[in-house]
């Protein structure tokens, strides 16, 4: 039983159709997937393959037309709107390309916001937010407003907000956006570290280099999982094969 319990995110034969009749668009068709703690799964596929739909369903931002989504063993279909909102605030962290930082709040206030909305006291929320900002390497910039931060720093604040508290599931949609390659790499480094510390991660990307940070890569085509990478081999095998 523990094996089943250990799964943080599970999709069972999930379908998502937009519209009906001949105009219906099948965004996802029968996708099953399980992500465990300490595991980062990357989803790759061209535009329109269903990557972002998959992520929205995993985070309870959208509901499947058929099939089930479970987070921490809880079927999302069984939750009402309040229950879903609470799960999103407590258990799920989102990192989007579009940062969605509030310009009128400082960095630390942005990070503390989901905790405060969830009833955490202001002081404790601030302490947790400062810890999260330190984790992403911005321990001293908490009192700056987003416009006073660089693009890379803003992205780090957004990540701190996604990681603050005890998020079991981190969902990232093209999290490196328009960042330069070094800063983008730092973002993935942070995501990887959090997953190594026990979170489950789902990373949507169309860049193979970013998917390289994952433990497993799955390929979506037209809403169907067509392929996935085999388990990682040893360093020795890798090096001996690298001269290919």
């Amino acid at each position: 039983m523990s094996g089943v319990d250990a799964v943080v995110l599970e999709l069972r034969d999930v379908h998502r159709t937009h519209g009906t009749g001949p105009a219906a668009v099948h965004a996802l068709r029968g996708v099953s997937l399980a992500v465990r703690p300490g595991e980062l799964v990357a989803v790759m596929g061209p535009s329109g393959s269903g990557k972002s739909t998959l992520l929205a369903l995993a985070g309870g931002l959208d509901s499947p037309t058929a099939g089930e989504v479970h987070v921490d063993g809880q079927p999302l279909a069984a939750l009402d709107r309040r229950g879903l909102a609470q799960l999103r605030r407590r258990r799920v962290g989102y990192i989007f390309q579009d940062l969605n930082l509030l310009g009128s709040l400082t960095a630390v206030e942005n990070v503390a916001l989901p905790l405060e909305l969830d009833g955490t006291g202001v002081r404790r929320a601030r302490a947790l937010a400062l810890a999260a900002l330190a984790e992403v390497g911005l321990p001293e910039l908490g009192d700056r407003f987003p416009e006073q931060l660089s693009g890379g720093q803003q992205q780090r604040v957004a990540i701190a907000r996604a990681l603050v508290g005890e998020r079991r599931l981190v969902l990232a949609d093209e999290p490196t956006g328009a960042l330069d390659s070094q800063t983008g790499e730092a973002v993935l480094h942070l995501l990887r570290r959090r997953v190594d510390a026990g979170a489950a991660g789902l990373l949507v990307t169309h860049e193979a280099r970013h998917a390289g940070w994952a433990d497993r890569v799955i390929f979506l085509r037209d809403g169907v999982l067509v392929d996935s990478t085999a388990p990682l081999s040893s360093v020795e095998q890798l090096l001996s094969g690298s001269g290919r």
Partner: protein
């Protein structure tokens, strides 16, 4: 690249004997390119013959150090100044394999593409893991070697994606004849079919 220039670059740091050169070579390429000591000595002998290095008297321990000569230094400078030509590299087996898969009856090209992409993606994951594990400043040379392999693997995945997209539109017109399909970058690598070669 030649082992020759690798050894010259190492000797530019100071005189070294065979085993030291081998260790330093492997250290600077993160052991991605293991050398056997025989290769080191054969290369040193050729370098000495060409006047690019000179051997020094043996030490009491029986080790013979080598040092770089002025001619060797000039050769090394030229090497660093000259871009590596793509034509010096071996033929791209993958591009050739895919081109042949398209023209060989009974081959599921899409499956060839997918199998390769999953394998290359896995390599990319493994390379990234190695990079993640080596974050000390002094490991920069090794990280850059890894980065080179990462970018090559990434390019291959992108090319395979491109092939897959091209296959969706691909309809061979006349069976047995070379199809009018464009596979970017591999056009020159497409060998003539046997039939064409015989003409």
């Amino acid at each position: 690249m030649s082992i020759r220039h690798g050894l010259l670059a190492l000797l530019e740091r100071g005189q070294m004997y065979g085993y030291q050169l081998r260790a330093a070579f492997e250290e600077s390429t993160g052991s991605t390119w293991p050398l056997n000591i025989g290769q080191v000595y054969t290369t040193l002998a050729r370098l000495e013959r060409d006047g690019l290095v000179r051997s020094l008297p043996e030490s009491e321990a029986g080790q013979r150090p080598y040092e770089i000569t002025d001619a060797g230094r000039a050769d090394l400078t030229l090497w660093f100044a000259t871009p590596v030509s793509r034509t010096d590299r071996p033929r791209d087996e993958l591009a050739i394999k895919l081109a042949l898969a398209l023209t060989t009856p009974g081959v599921d090209v899409r499956s060839v593409v997918q199998t390769q992409r999953a394998a290359t993606m896995r390599t990319l994951q493994e390379l990234t893991r190695l990079k993640y594990a080596s974050d000390k400043p002094e490991e920069l040379p090794w990280r850059l070697v890894l980065d080179a392999m990462v970018f090559q693997a990434e390019a291959e995945v992108r090319w395979l994606d491109h092939c897959e997209t091209s296959l969706v539109r691909y309809r061979p017109s006349v069976p047995g004849r070379r199809p009018p399909v464009e596979v970017d970058g591999s056009a020159e690598a497409v060998p003539p079919t046997d039939e064409e070669a015989r003409r």
